[in-house]
């Protein structure tokens, strides 16, 4: 009985999960394509009065994605199904999936809108990472409604995470599923909602779908067309930010929609685990017990107030109008969505500074928002205070507590390393684009910050408020920054380690 345990090479072990994810993407392409065919036939919407043929790029890309997926399955056919991925393989798989998403997602844009390859990859990566940064200056003129919808669907898939979806719909992944999940949703997460990762993923996706349905319904009820309501509903719950209009939300000129969207964005920035806890215990009081949520709400309140005051003059002294603009700006920046109703180029310096701070902080852990995350900021602040205290009274034991529970020092180290990596990436990527494009430093830093925090619109932009004027190499650099930010650094950086590839 010779049971030698040699592990198949990593490329073969990965091939199956990666292939299956590509099949899921193919399914979504078909679904979106057919939906658009339906819109074309029914012309439910003034804007979507497009011809059925415009859904072609999506339906054409589906077999390409499916074929790639089948090649993956074929390549991994010799790997026994019972073989569980370890952490290392899961990290590589997730990074490979996200790299492929950027390429497969770009194909409809290349076929349908003649977009150059680097631009299309930038756009698709921006879609899947829910950044919402675009290279299209004229969306309504360049993109057909099906392509607009595809950008929104990319947001939506990337928002809760395509790997999380994959884990939810393939229940027999076992521990591989857990490692995959953690590689896509690392750090302080919503994990632990349920003991099994399949159940956790299912819970998250159900909540996500449910909230999306509500959002689309609300937007439609407030007067958006069905097509626009879907596009913006997808873009909101995923905190993405791609709009169907060049003027973004301002194009609808509806204060009601702006208020509703702001609230929906803020909801998308809350830890989904809290929603689950509320749904399970049927008590709202659980929400307030979360320190992270209290701080999140506090940030929203304080920043809204400060912005309202600072922009009072900009809006002609009308308090309600400036409150609306301030609230929307806070929601869109803090949750890194990137929808806009005004141009922050006109902002007074105080408002601009606040916007940048909010982009850095981001939403709650376990939400679809980007940034450093409120939970991390909370731990960082408390750890910093404890450290200062320690310097004065070294003999006293200083405990960092969140929600009344002590934070293990391993987590404090994790969070501080995260902050360092975030800042280091900000510096390095800014440097790269300063060198390659000769851009002014604030412009470069603003663009990189926008990508790392998956925000979208960049502060201190030059020329038009989009990424079209950057060079091809800069666009690919930004794409890398978006994936790094979306996967929260560790997973992506791990695959650069030599020991990940050695056995």
């Amino acid at each position: 009985m010779n049971r030698a345990r040699t592990r198949p090479p990593i490329s073969r072990v990965l091939a199956r999960p990666v292939g299956l994810v590509l099949l899921v993407v193919a399914g979504m392409l078909v679904g979106t394509g057919l939906l658009e065919v339906g819109f074309g036939l029914a012309s439910l919407d003034a804007m979507s009065g497009h011809s059925v043929r415009e859904a072609g790029p999506l339906l054409l890309t589906a077999p390409i994605s499916a074929l790639l997926g089948l090649v993956g399955l074929w390549w991994g056919r010799s790997v026994p199904r019972s073989l569980a991925l370890d952490r290392r393989e899961a990290s590589v798989a997730v990074v490979a999936i996200w790299a492929l998403l950027g390429i497969v997602g770009a194909i409809p844009l290349i076929i349908g809108a003649n977009t150059p390859l680097p631009d299309a990859i930038f756009e698709a990566t921006s879609g899947f990472t829910t950044t919402g940064a675009t290279i299209y200056g004229d969306i309504e003129g360049t993109l057909s409604p099906p392509l607009v919808m595809w950008r929104a669907v990319m947001h939506w898939l990337g928002g809760m995470g395509i790997v999380v979806l994959f884990v939810a719909i393939f229940p027999n992944l076992g521990v591989s599923g857990k490692h995959l999940f953690r590689s896509e949703v690392p750090g302080v997460t919503a994990e632990g909602l349920r003991p099994r990762i399949t159940d956790t993923s299912m819970v998250l996706w159900r909540l996500y779908v449910g909230l999306t349905v509500v959002a689309v319904g609300v937007l439609w009820w407030l007067g958006m067309g069905v097509h626009d309501a879907l596009v913006h509903g997808f873009g909101t719950l995923s905190t993405g930010g791609f709009s169907s209009r060049d003027a973004s939300i301002a194009a609808f000129a509806s204060p009601a929609i702006e208020w509703a969207l702001a609230v929906l964005m803020l909801i998308a920035g809350v830890n989904f685990g809290l929603f689950y806890a509320v749904a399970r215990t049927r008590r709202l009081s659980g929400l307030w017990r979360s320190a992270e949520l209290r701080v999140y709400v506090g940030i929203v309140a304080v920043c809204t107030l400060a912005l309202t005051v600072s922009m009072h003059d900009l809006h002609g002294g009308d308090s309600l109008t400036s409150l609306r603009y301030a609230f929307f700006r806070v929601a869109t920046s803090l949750t890194s969505t990137g929808f806009g109703i005004d141009d922050h180029k006109d902002y007074p310096p105080v408002a601009m500074a606040l916007t940048i701070v909010m982009m850095l902080v981001g939403g709650c852990a376990g939400s679809t928002a980007g940034g450093i995350k409120v939970a991390r900021v909370l731990i960082l602040v408390k750890a910093a205070v404890a450290q200062v205290r320690r310097s004065v009274r070294p003999a006293v034991v200083h405990v960092v507590r969140v929600d009344g529970r002590p934070v293990p020092s391993s987590i404090v180290v994790d969070v501080t390393s995260f902050l360092f990596i975030y800042m280091a990436c900000l510096a390095v990527f800014s440097m790269i684009v300063v060198v390659t494009d000769g851009a002014p430093v604030p412009t470069a830093v603003g663009a990189v910050l926008s990508c790392l925090s998956n925000m979208g619109p960049a502060p201190f932009y030059e020329g038009a408020d989009n990424f079209s004027s950057w060079s091809a190499s800069a666009k690919l650099t930004f794409s890398a920054a978006m994936v790094l930010g979306r996967l929260e650094f560790f997973t992506v950086l791990a695959i650069l380690l030599p020991e990940v590839w050695r056995r």
Binding site: M1, A84, D86, R87, P171, L173, G174, V175, G177, K178, G192, R194, P195, R196, I197, T198, D199
Partner: protein, 449 residues
């Protein structure tokens, strides 16, 4: 099912692995961070660091809504307190393991007490193992004897002897009597469920299932069935002393080797019929001197697996006819058998079996893992409306790797042929390979066996 497992030792891990495979939700509690990390790395379960008997930790683990708690830490009292606390918090069923000598008497020879101190099941796997070894010693020629359906059905494992009359012919030609059949055989470490064309060869390990009386009569067709008159036991711990006690009054002459003088002297008064020898059970001369050459069975049952193995190998060299050992890791059963050990019993596997019996659906009553977990033997009642009910078995299209071994009725047990029908209310005993578990479950209306 939502299960809380307290203690991630070997049994804990085995239970976690089995529960995960069956698709249950598992939360594991341990104090050892390394053990938790290991479980995290290899299993899709949630983990919690803390003292398993603390109400706070148990509440955090979700004991209020748990269906089952399994307490298997190293400390017997912790296990009992954890089970009781969980029960108090609202856990529906609780199972605790004890293994110390102080808890030897619970549940008598079975080592399984139901309802002790308000815990649904308290069991001592070492006593369970001793009971199993005693059954083997009392039966003639068997390597394993499992009782099912309150003793109305037995499963016996034998090694096919060189000159056995059933060897070398296809199973259909064997004309085995009614009331028994060949359920499975293990060749080169791999278990298979045989069809009529399969041929048994000497050296195969064969699982026979049937009525105890029929099996007793046909055992000689398969194996050397000389009665075990002399049994040597190495180790006077929980297993050794329980085993020796179980063999009292059965006419078997027992020689027990125990290295520790105090333990040996404490044992001897309890075992008037046995000879208790103070000395190292791996000492060749000592074994020879005390007649192991004429022993029909030698069991190595100390707490140390390596001593057991050495003792059994030495005993074999001295001349013991058959040898058996208890081990901590059932995965190595195949390796031990290659080394010439006939009987390998893992108390930990038995513990896992006992626990898993509590995790199966309500309709599943009993479970035994065969051949290191390659197949399960399950006693169950098909759910109303299950596909298996109401039609002859030959029309059932029973999946590969599944065998319906017996139909249990109030008025008797049937070892079925193709014409027999499972009626509503009947119990069945099913053998299923690990791969066929799900298909077997579908047949009887449970999600999986």
């Amino acid at each position: 099912m939502y299960v809380v497992v307290v203690g991630l030792g070997q049994v804990g891990l085995a239970v976690v692995r089995a529960l995960e495979q069956q698709g249950h939700e598992v939360v594991a509690i341990d104090r050892d961070r390394a053990a938790l990390a290991r479980a995290e790395d290899h299993h899709d379960v949630a983990t919690l660091e803390g003292y398993g008997a603390s109400a706070r930790v148990l509440r955090q683990a979700g004991c209020a809504r748990a269906d089952l708690i399994v307490a298997v830490t190293r400390h017997d009292e912790t296990n009992l307190v954890a089970a009781l606390t969980a029960r108090h918090l609202g856990t529906k069923r609780c199972v605790a393991r004890v293994q110390g000598a102080d808890w030897m008497d619970i549940g008598g020879e079975d080592g399984l007490a139901m309802g002790l101190l308000g815990v649904d099941a308290v069991f001592n796997p070492r006593v369970l193992a001793a009971g199993e070894l005693a059954r083997i010693a009392r039966s003639s020629g068997a390597l394993e004897v499992l009782e099912l359906a309150e003793g109305r059905v037995e499963v016996v494992q034998v090694e096919l002897a060189a000159g056995a009359r059933v060897a070398g012919r296809p199973l259909v030609d064997l004309r085995l009597p009614h009331g028994m059949r060949v359920a499975a055989f293990v060749r080169a470490g791999l278990l298979s469920v045989p069809g009529g064309a399969d041929v048994l060869r000497p050296g195969d390990r064969v699982f026979l299932v049937g009525l105890p009386s029929v099996l007793r009569d046909t055992l000689s067709w398969f194996a050397d069935t000389r009665h075990a008159g002399r049994v040597a036991i190495i180790g006077g711990g929980v297993v050794g002393s329980s085993l020796a006690r179980a063999l009292q009054g059965t006419g078997v002459s027992v020689t027990l080797f125990e290295r520790d003088r105090e333990v040996a002297e404490a044992l001897a008064p309890d075992l008037p019929e046995a000879t208790v020898v103070i000395g190292d059970g791996t000492d060749l001369e000592l074994l020879e001197e005390h007649g192991v050459a004429r022993a029909d069975l030698l069991f190595g049952v100390t707490a140390d697996e390596q001593v057991n193995l050495m003792g059994a190998l030495v005993g074999r060299r001295v001349g013991a006819r058959r040898t058996g050992i208890i081990v901590s890791r059932s995965e190595y059963e195949g390796i031990y058998q290659q080394l010439g050990i006939d009987i390998v019993i893992s108390p930990r596997q038995m513990a896992a079996d006992v626990i898993l019996r509590h995790c199966r659906g309500v309709e599943v009553r009993n479970l035994h893992a065969l051949a290191g977990g390659q197949a399960d033997l399950v006693e169950l009642t098909p759910v109303d409306g299950a596909r298996a009910l109401g039609r002859p078995l030959m029309e059932l299209d029973v999946p590969r790797g599944v065998l319906i071994c017996a139909i249990i009725r109030r008025d008797g047990v049937v070892v079925p042929s193709g014409r027999d029908v499972i009626e509503p209310g009947d119990g069945v005993i099913v053998l299923s390979t690990a791969a066929a578990r799900r298909a077997a479950g579908r047949l009887f209306g449970t999600r999986r066996l």
